[in-house]
C-alpha cells in the first residue's frame, strides 16, 4: 500500500491561528481525497473539520481547494491529484470566510441566489395546469447544462471577480438566472434581463477568465451562460451600459479596419453620446483614462493612426461584406420569427 502526504491548510477559530499541517495516509487504488481526509479524521486527528455527505458528487458539500483549484474532494482521486508523487495540498474554498479548517461560511455565496431571485416566477394570469408545468424537450436541451448545478460553490471559490468584489453575483447565481431566463414557464424574463444588465455585479462585470468553467464538477458552463445572457440582454434592448458600449465600439473598429481600435475604444465605452450631452460622470471617466493614454504615448507604445496596421484593403472589403451578410441574415431571421409569431397567434385564436 502506497503512502501519500497531504498538506492541509488549517484554521483554529478559538485561537485565530492559521497553519499548514502535514499528514501521511495509506492510499489504495481509487481512493479519493475525501476518503483520505476521513482517514485522517478517524485515525489521526479527530479535530480536523470539513463538510461532506453523499460521497457521490451529488450533494455538493465537499468542494474545497485541492492543489490550489476548487473541486469536489469526493470526485478527486489521490492518484490523479498527486502528480509525480508530490504532496497534495488541501485548503478551504476561496472568496469566503473560513469558519474552521476546510469549512467556509457559505452565506455570501447563497445570498447571491436570493439577489438574483433564482426561482420560478409563474405567469399569474394563467390557471395552473392540472398536471405539471411543461417545458419543450428541445428548449430544455439548449439550457439543461445550467440546471445541473449542485451549489457546491467551486466556481464562486475560484472566481477572479468575486476575489476583488463582494458585490459580484458570481458564476453560479448568474448561471441559475440564465436557466430561468431561458425557461418558457417563467414570467419574469424581461425583468431578469434588465436586472442582470443594470445591477452592479451583474453580467457585464465578468472577466471571461474561464475559472468557473474549469472548476465546475457538473459542466454547468457558468461563463457560457453569462455570455449568452449578454447576447439576450442586448437583443432585448438593455444597451445603456459600459459593457454594451464596449461591445459596439469594438465591433465598429473591427468593421472599419478589420482590427481592434484601442485609441477609440475607451471613448466609445464611456459613450460618445454621454460625452456630447455633457454627462459629468462620463467626462470624469474620460479624465481617468488620460494619464494612461499619456503614458502609452510617452513610451512610444501607441502608434499614430498612419503607422498602424489594419487588415489590408482586400481583407477590409471582405470583412465589411461578412458584417453585411450576417446582419442581413439576422434581420431575415427576425422577420421569419415575427411572421411565425403572427401565424401562431392567428392559429391559436389571438391569445
Amino acid at each position: 500500500m502506497a503512502q501519500q502526504e497531504l498538506i492541509i491548510q488549517r484554521y483554529n477559530p478559538d485561537t485565530d491561528e492559521s497553519y499548514e499541517e502535514s499528514f501521511n495516509v495509506d492510499v489504495q487504488p481509487g481512493q479519493t481525497v475525501l476518503d483520505s481526509l476521513n482517514a485522517i479524521k478517524w485515525e489521526q486527528d479527530g479535530t480536523l473539520s470539513f463538510r461532506m455527505s453523499c460521497r457521490h458528487a451529488i450533494c455538493g458539500s465537499c468542494a474545497m481547494k485541492v492543489n490550489g483549484q476548487s473541486m469536489l474532494s469526493c470526485q478527486t482521486q489521490v492518484d490523479a491529484a498527486a502528480e509525480r508523487g508530490d504532496p497534495i495540498t488541501v485548503g478551504p474554498q476561496g472568496n469566503q470566510n473560513v469558519i474552521k479548517d476546510l469549512v467556509v461560511d457559505v452565506e455570501k455565496f447563497l445570498h447571491q441566489f436570493e439577489r438574483a431571485e433564482t426561482w420560478l416566477e409563474p405567469y399569474e394570469d394563467q390557471e395552473p395546469p392540472e398536471r405539471e408545468y411543461r417545458q419543450k424537450v428541445e428548449e430544455f436541451d439548449h439550457w439543461s447544462h445550467a440546471s445541473t448545478c449542485i451549489h457546491c460553490g467551486a466556481c464562486y471559490s475560484d472566481c477572479t471577480v468575486a476575489a476583488v468584489d463582494e458585490n459580484f453575483l458570481g458564476p453560479a447565481a448568474l448561471a441559475k438566472a440564465y436557466r430561468f431566463v431561458m425557461d418558457s414557464r417563467d414570467a419574469k424574463r424581461e425583468e431578469r434581463l434588465q436586472f442582470l444588465s443594470e445591477e452592479q455585479g451583474g453580467i457585464w462585470d465578468c472577466t471571461r477568465c474561464y475559472m468557473c468553467v474549469q472548476a465546475c464538477p457538473k459542466d454547468v458552463l457558468p461563463m457560457d451562460a453569462i455570455m449568452e445572457l449578454r447576447t439576450l440582454a442586448i437583443e432585448a434592448g438593455h444597451v445603456n451600459n459600459h459593457g454594451v458600449r464596449h461591445h459596439k465600439g469594438f465591433m465598429s473598429g473591427v468593421r472599419k479596419r478589420g482590427r481592434l481600435d484601442e485609441m477609440m475604444l475607451p471613448v466609445q465605452s464611456v459613450g460618445i453620446g454621454r460625452l456630447l450631452t455633457g454627462n459629468l460622470a462620463a467626462h470624469k471617466e474620460m479624465m481617468d483614462y488620460t494619464p494612461g493614454a499619456i503614458r502609452l504615448l510617452k513610451s512610444r507604445k501607441l502608434l499614430t493612426i498612419a503607422q498602424r496596421h489594419g487588415a489590408n484593403a482586400e481583407g477590409r472589403e471582405q470583412i465589411e461584406r461578412i458584417f453585411e451578410e450576417v446582419e442581413a441574415e439576422k434581420h431575415h431571421h427576425d422577420v421569419d420569427a415575427e411572421a411565425f409569431g403572427a401565424e401562431f397567434e392567428t392559429a391559436i385564436g389571438g391569445h
Binding site: 471571461r208 477568465c209 447576447t231 494612461g292 510617452k298 513610451s299 450576417v326
Partner: protein, 292 residues
C-alpha cells in the same frame, strides 16, 4: 525552414508594437518563416461574441481557412487570440455549423475544412523548435533573473480546449521556457489568474485591483520581472501599473516582458531591437542585471 501562417493580432500592431517587432526578430534568428495573414480580421476576443457570436465565428473560420489554404500551421502570439481561435475550431467540428459558416467564406474562394490546430508561439517553441535547440542558442544566460510567469487566462483554460491531456508540456510551458533560458521561475497564486484587462472599461476598480494584486504578490516573492504570452495582460500589467499601484496602495516597479523579448534577450539580441525601450515600466534595471 519551418513555415507558419502568422496571425499577429491587433494589440501587437497597436498598443504593444514591441511584441510584433520582437516576434519577427526572434523568428528570423530561429529560422522560422512567418507568412503574415494580412487580410485576416480580429478574433473578436470574446467581445464581438458578447452580442454577435455567429459573426465572431465567421471571422475566425475565415482566418483558419486562410491558414488551411496555404497548408501552413497557424501561429498566434496572443493568449486571447489562441484561446478564441481554439474555442472556434472546437465549434467547427460540427459539420452542419461549418457548412453554414462556409457560405460566408465562399465568395472569396475560401472554405474551412476543420483541420487547423491554432497554437501560440510559446507552444511552437516547445513543440516544434524544441528545448534542446533553444538551449543551444542561448548566448546570454539569464541566471541572475527571477521571473514570474503570467499566462493569460486563455492559455490555461479551459483545459479541454487546450488539449493539456494529450500535450502535457503545455501545462507549464512558460516555466519551461524561463528555466531553459537559465532564469529561475517563481511560483505565485496570480500567475494563472485574470489580469483584469477585459473589464478595464467596465469596472476600472475591479480591473486594477486584479492587476495590482498579482503584481504585488509576484514582486513580494522576489520577481525581477513578469513574462507574459498575452499582450492584453501586458497592457494591464505594464501600461496600467502606475494606476494599479495607486488602487492597491503599494509601490510597484515590475517590468513586464513579452515571450519573444525574453527569448531574444537570452539569444543575445539587442534590447532596442526587441522594443524593450517601449515599456511604461522601465526595463533598465533588469537589463543591467544581465549585462544587456
Amino acid at each position: 525552414m519551418s513555415k507558419y501562417a502568422f496571425w499577429p493580432g491587433c494589440v501587437a500592431q497597436g498598443a504593444a508594437p514591441e511584441l510584433y517587432t520582437s516576434t519577427l526578430a526572434v523568428a528570423e534568428h530561429l529560422g522560422m518563416d512567418l507568412v503574415e495573414l494580412e487580410a485576416a480580421a480580429c478574433t473578436g476576443a470574446g467581445i464581438i461574441s458578447d452580442g454577435e457570436p455567429y459573426l465572431q465565428d465567421v471571422l475566425n473560420a475565415r482566418t483558419m481557412a486562410m491558414s488551411e489554404q496555404m497548408d501552413l500551421p497557424l501561429m498566434d502570439i496572443c493568449s486571447t487570440c489562441v484561446g478564441v481561435h481554439r474555442l472556434a475550431a472546437e465549434k467547427f467540428r460540427d459539420v452542419d455549423y461549418r457548412i453554414r459558416i462556409n457560405h460566408h467564406l465562399a465568395p472569396e474562394g475560401l472554405e474551412y475544412r476543420g483541420t487547423v490546430d491554432p497554437r501560440h508561439l510559446l507552444w511552437i517553441l516547445l513543440e516544434d523548435v524544441g528545448i534542446d535547440k533553444i538551449n543551444s542558442m542561448v548566448k546570454r544566460p539569464l541566471e541572475e533573473l527571477n521571473l514570474g510567469p503570467f499566462y493569460g487566462c486563455y492559455l490555461v483554460r479551459p483545459e479541454r480546449t487546450l488539449e493539456f491531456d494529450t500535450h502535457p508540456t503545455r501545462r507549464d510551458s512558460l516555466e519551461q521556457l524561463i528555466e531553459v533560458l537559465g532564469a529561475t521561475s517563481i511560483t505565485y497564486d496570480g500567475m494563472t489568474k485574470c489580469c483584469g484587462f477585459p473589464i478595464l472599461t467596465m469596472n476600472k476598480q475591479n480591473s486594477l485591483t486584479m492587476a495590482g494584486t498579482h503584481l504585488d504578490e509576484a514582486q513580494s516573492k522576489g520577481a525581477d520581472a513578469l513574462v507574459t504570452p498575452c499582450p492584453l495582460c501586458h497592457l494591464n500589467l505594464d501600461a496600467q501599473q502606475p494606476d494599479a499601484a495607486k488602487v492597491i496602495d503599494r509601490n510597484l516597479n515590475l517590468p513586464i516582458l513579452h515571450v519573444p523579448q525574453l527569448l531574444g534577450l537570452a539569444m543575445g539580441l539587442e534590447p532596442e531591437t526587441l522594443g524593450l525601450t517601449r515599456h511604461v515600466v522601465d526595463t533598465n534595471r533588469l537589463l543591467n542585471k544581465i549585462g544587456a
